[in-house]
């Protein structure tokens, strides 16, 4: 049960984080995972296992594209990059996320709201 809850919680956010990470340039799966972990100062633990289904989902939705490349340890690895639609989606999703956060935090904490 707990397992399922966490997946649901991460569902939308993981996609957004992946898109944001790829905005900086092509990265392979492991790179995406470590990148997210590093930028969140390890506070968000990325379930590496759930990353790949997410990547495939995004690719099937035509938000990212992939091709084989060579990793830093000289292994073949699949590199992902944002497509044009992916970039647009990143912008709209970021806005929606920010709006959501603003609204939710206003509800949760009315005094601190602007």
């Amino acid at each position: 049960m707990a397992d399922q809850e966490r997946i649901q919680l991460l569902q939308g956010t993981l996609d957004l984080l992946v898109l944001q990470t790829l905005a900086l340039g092509p990265v392979h799966g492991h790179g995406i995972a470590t990148n997210i972990q590093r930028t969140t100062q390890e506070e968000l633990l990325v379930d590496h296992g759930s990353l790949y289904p997410a990547l495939q989902r995004l690719e099937r939705a035509n938000l990212i594209a992939s091709e084989w490349g060579v990793s830093e340890n000289n292994r073949r690895a699949r590199y992902y990059k944002l497509t044009r639609t992916g970039r647009k989606r990143l912008v709209t999703e970021t806005r929606r996320w920010e709006a959501t956060v603003r609204v939710i935090s206003r509800v949760l904490n009315p005094r601190r709201a602007t």
Binding site: G29, H48, Y52, N73, A77
Partner: protein, 887 residues
């Protein structure tokens, strides 16, 4: 069955490689942090989760994944089914039998009883008959004589239109008709219908037209309508047939139309319909041979029509119906029923019994399938739990079990359809011709779908129950329970209940079929009053154009019989106007006529019975070996010199001259008085179980002339009767090359056909009971085998603790036998409850026959014991150590 690489969105190798690369990078990162290689790998895996599961989830993203996993499931299922052939065979067979047999039987019932008749608005189409006094213990319904027919036609208030119909040649007819002028004469079944009758039925001809009122009068133009079959076989379905003239019995007839293939009235065998040509102005009574059909007037009901008909029948005495007819035959009661009820009538009960039987078989089949699947699924619960533990999604596991259910169901279904088709063909082949509408029967797709759905649903439901239980995350307990584990008492109870019910149903069927078998053997043991062995029979009817009068015809028969007797291998020959056991008008076995008896000690009022009237030639009684009680049989002088002699049957003699001799007494039938010259034994006329009615035999000619045209020739032979047939045919061809010979058969065939209804019901019931017994045994065996396997370690333990084999055997056996006995008791109760339903189908055996019930109990006890003993003794042979390990 793998999906080709190019169809894949992403190959498995690519997914594997990508994920392996990820892990390698992660391991490298940990190594860089200074962990040992082993620690690094473990840390990477901890972070990543189960790589196999991730890979699987990644694969599941493939759009083709569903197809692929389905194919995998199919492969896996086929493999696992191959590994457990007993389950597979039992399940497929059970499904096939319950789907196939039930569908076949139901298709017959549906075709005969349920489907509407092929007439427009069939519910308003009725047949009217007269109710007669019971003859012996059977009630007989009579058709109308001309006088009564017109009385009803002119005075009714409840019918829209009234028509008359009669079959008078071929099957059930007593005259011979044939197409002539085409080489060998082609025998025909001819029906007469009034012009109105065609309109009452309302089925238009596919070609041509109905007869006109002018053609339906005495001496109207000779016109006829062809049946679809005759049109196709004899006239190559030529559309130009309408307007052509054909020869029937040497006379020209104009073809005015062809009826459609669906038109089979009044019976399917009719080849030709001709106008009835009744004379409405005639004051003659006429023979009672007109079947009255009518359309109910708007607003009229069966009840109001019956009241209307009875009002008119009550007045029959005033219009001049013969006194003894109005008193003896007509009781002032009439039957009005829909044509369908009339046609289906006597077949209803046996067919409904068979339908009920098949319903029971379906029930047994379903509970068996349910049982099999449940046992199987429980055995697989552990496997399912293992799969879940190893990372399989629960949906996948359920899907796998479901796939298995579907595959088995499909296989069973396909075999079932094949069985239904084959079974239906076999059923129609063995069905007695007396079952109406046989040719309308086809596989009923609705029924097929229904039985398939029911039995498949039963299987799937029970396949899924344990799967769902597994899915609801009782993985651990299932794993712990392991192979030796049982899955709870409630399932045992359900399964045992099913087995008990199965045994009960099967036993009821067994009792039913045993009773039918005993009826059949009782029927076969009846002495029909003649010796049916080595008797050849056929019908001939010399044409009016060749043999002008009765004397000429009688001479023809004399010559024919004389020449036949000269054929080597023939020991005797004779002829009669009506062969016993061939049905006849109203099922009476011949014309049923008023008979005046004189010189009887009984008072005058009682001396006017109705008797079956037959003509017979010299040699007939000797050929049939009908015993002579007193006096003599016919001799040539009887007809040649018109001595006015008669021979009566024993029952008639016993009624009127119980103490004294009947010889020399006067009896008047068919308008001519005669002296009794002999008394012969009773003959079972309509069927072996039909009561023997009084019969008066007369020679071919008497003072009133005599109209012997069609006669049934009987020939006794010293070898196989069919061997003399060519010589007999040659003799007939010499005498009259145009003479049609029909209904060629041995007397044994005739007797067999008259019992065909019983033998048909019996065959199907025996089949059903066999199936049920088998399924019941499979049920007990399945449950016992499963139960014993689960108790293997207990058995081992008991033995290890010092129990001897015999006591363990008894312990486990008691379990199986308890189910068996419960089932037997319930089954016996059900049989007794159902006895009443069956009793009208039985002959010479009570539905509560103790011997039969006892036999059934013993058989089922034995079967149950055997089905239990096999798995138990197998368990006892398991080496102790293996049994104790419980695996």
């Amino acid at each position: 069955m793998n999906i080709p690489r190019w169809l894949r969105w992403r190959s498995h190798d690519e997914i594997d490689e990508e994920i392996d690369a990820h892990l390698a990078l992660e391991v490298q990162a940990h190594l860089d942090r200074g962990l040992s290689p082993e620690e690094a790998r473990r840390a990477a895996l901890r972070e990543f989760g189960n790589p196999a599961a991730v890979k699987q989830r990644a694969r599941e993203n493939d759009p083709l994944f569903r197809v692929e996993s389905f194919l995998t499931d199919v492969r896996q299922t086929l493999r696992s089914l191959r590994r457990s052939p007993s389950f597979t065979i039992a399940a497929v067979l059970t499904l096939a039998v319950s789907i196939g047999a039930t569908t076949a039987i139901f298709s017959v019932v549906d075709g005969v009883l349920l489907r509407p008749m092929p007439f427009p608005d069939p519910d308003r189409l009725v047949r009217v008959t007269l109710h007669t006094l019971p003859q012996a213990n059977a009630t007989v319904e009579m058709p109308f004589a001309e006088l009564g027919f017109f009385h009803l036609l002119n005075n009714h208030r409840t019918f829209a239109k009234v028509g008359g119909v009669s079959v008078f040649a071929g099957t059930n007819g007593n005259d011979e008709w044939a197409l002539t002028g085409i080489g060998a004469p082609y025998p025909l079944a001819v029906a007469r219908m009034t012009a109105a009758a065609f309109e009452v039925l309302g089925v238009p001809p596919q070609l041509g037209r109905f007869p006109t009122a002018a053609e339906d009068r005495p001496r109207g133009a000779p016109v006829l309508l062809l049946s679809d079959t005759l049109w196709r076989t004899m006239f190559n379905a030529s559309p130009s047939i309408v307007g052509r003239t054909v020869q029937m019995n040497g006379a020209p007839w104009e073809v005015i139309g062809v009826m459609p293939a669906s038109f089979k009235f009044p019976q399917p065998t009719v080849d030709v319909w001709i106008p009835f040509r009744l004379d409405p102005t005639s004051k003659a009574i006429g023979p009672p041979s007109i079947g009255l059909i009518a359309r109910l007037a708007p607003g009229a009901t069966i009840e109001s029509a019956t009241a209307d008909a009875e009002r008119l029948v009550a007045g029959f005495a005033e219009i001049g119906y013969p006194l003894n007819w109005t008193r003896d035959i007509i009781t002032g009661k009439a039957h009005v029923r829909t044509v369908k009820d009339d046609v289906v009538g006597r077949s209803r009960r046996p067919l409904l019994v068979l339908l009920g039987t098949m319903g029971l078989v379906l029930l047994i089949g379903c509970s068996n399938v349910a049982n099999l699947f449940q046992v199987r699924a429980e055995a697989r619960a552990v496997e399912a739990a293992v799969r879940v533990a190893l990372g399989a999604g629960r949906r996948r596991v359920v899907q796998l079990l479901l796939t298995e259910g579907v595959i088995v169901a499909l296989a069973g279904g396909i075999c079932g359809v094949a069985l239904a088709y084959g079974g239906l063909r076999a059923l129609v082949a063995i069905a007695p011709p007396s079952i109406p509408r046989l040719d309308e029967i086809g596989i009923n797709l609705t029924v097929l779908a229904f039985t398939a759905a029911v039995s498949v649903a039963a299987g799937l439901l029970f396949a899924l129950l344990p799967a769902l239980r597994t899915a609801s995350s009782r993985v651990l307990s299932a794993l712990r329970a392991g192979r030796s584990g049982s899955t709870g008492r409630e399932h045992h109870v359900a399964r045992r209940g099913l087995v008990v019910a199965q045994i009960a149903f099967a036993l009821a069927l067994f009792v039913g079929s045993t009773l039918m078998v005993r009826s059949f053997s009782a029927l076969s043991a009846i002495n029909p009053g003649f010796d049916a062995s080595r008797l050849l029979t056929f019908r001939v009817a010399p044409a009016e154009t060749r043999h002008r009068d009765g004397e000429d015809t009688a001479r023809f028969y004399d010559t024919l019989l004389e020449r036949v007797r000269a054929i080597p291998g023939v020991t005797a020959a004779g002829a009669t106007s009506f062969l016993p056991m061939t049905g006849g008008i109203g099922g009476l076995g011949g014309p049923f006529l008023a008979t005046a008896i004189e010189d009887s000690p009984l008072d005058a009022g009682a001396r006017a019975p109705n008797s079956v009237f037959r003509r017979a030639t010299p040699g007939y009684f000797e050929t049939m070996r009908i015993p002579v009680i007193e006096g003599r049989t016919f001799i040539a002088d009887d007809h040649q010199r018109r001595l006015g002699s008669a021979i009566i049957s024993e029952s008639l003699k016993n009624k009127y001259w119980p103490q004294s001799s009947a010889l020399g007494k006067k009896v008047t039938i068919a308008g001519a008085p005669a002296r009794i010259v002999g008394v012969v034994g009773d003959v079972h006329d309509t069927a072996p179980d039909a009561p023997t009615g009084p019969v008066v035999y007369k020679p071919m000619l008497d003072e009133r002339g005599g109209n012997v045209r069609g006669m049934a020739v009987t020939i006794r032979t010293s070898r196989d009767p069919l061997e003399v047939l060519p010589a007999v045919r040659g003799t007939i061809a010499e005498l009259d090359p145009d003479l049609p010979v029909s209904d060629i058969q041995t007397m044994q065939t005739v007797v067999g056909a008259s019992m065909s209804r019983t033998s048909f019901t019996m065959t199907v019931l025996v089949l059903a009971a066999g199936i049920a017994l088998f399924l019941g045994a499979v049920g007990i065996y399945g449950v016992m085998a499963y139960g014993v396997v689960q108790r293997t370690s207990e058995i081992g333990l008991r033995q290890a603790l010092g129990a001897d084999r015999a006591s363990v055997f008894r312990l486990i056996m008691r379990d199986g036998l308890r189910m068996d006995v419960l089932g037997i008791v319930a089954g016996l109760a059900a049989s007794i409850g159902l006895g009443k339903t069956l009793s009208s189908l039985l002959y010479g055996v009570s539905p509560y026959d103790g011997v039969t019930l006892l036999l059934a109990a013993v058989v089922f006890l034995a079967v149950g014991a055997l089905a239990s003993a096999i798995p138990v003794s197998r368990a006892l042979r398991v080496p102790l150590i293996v049994a104790l390990r419980g695996d």
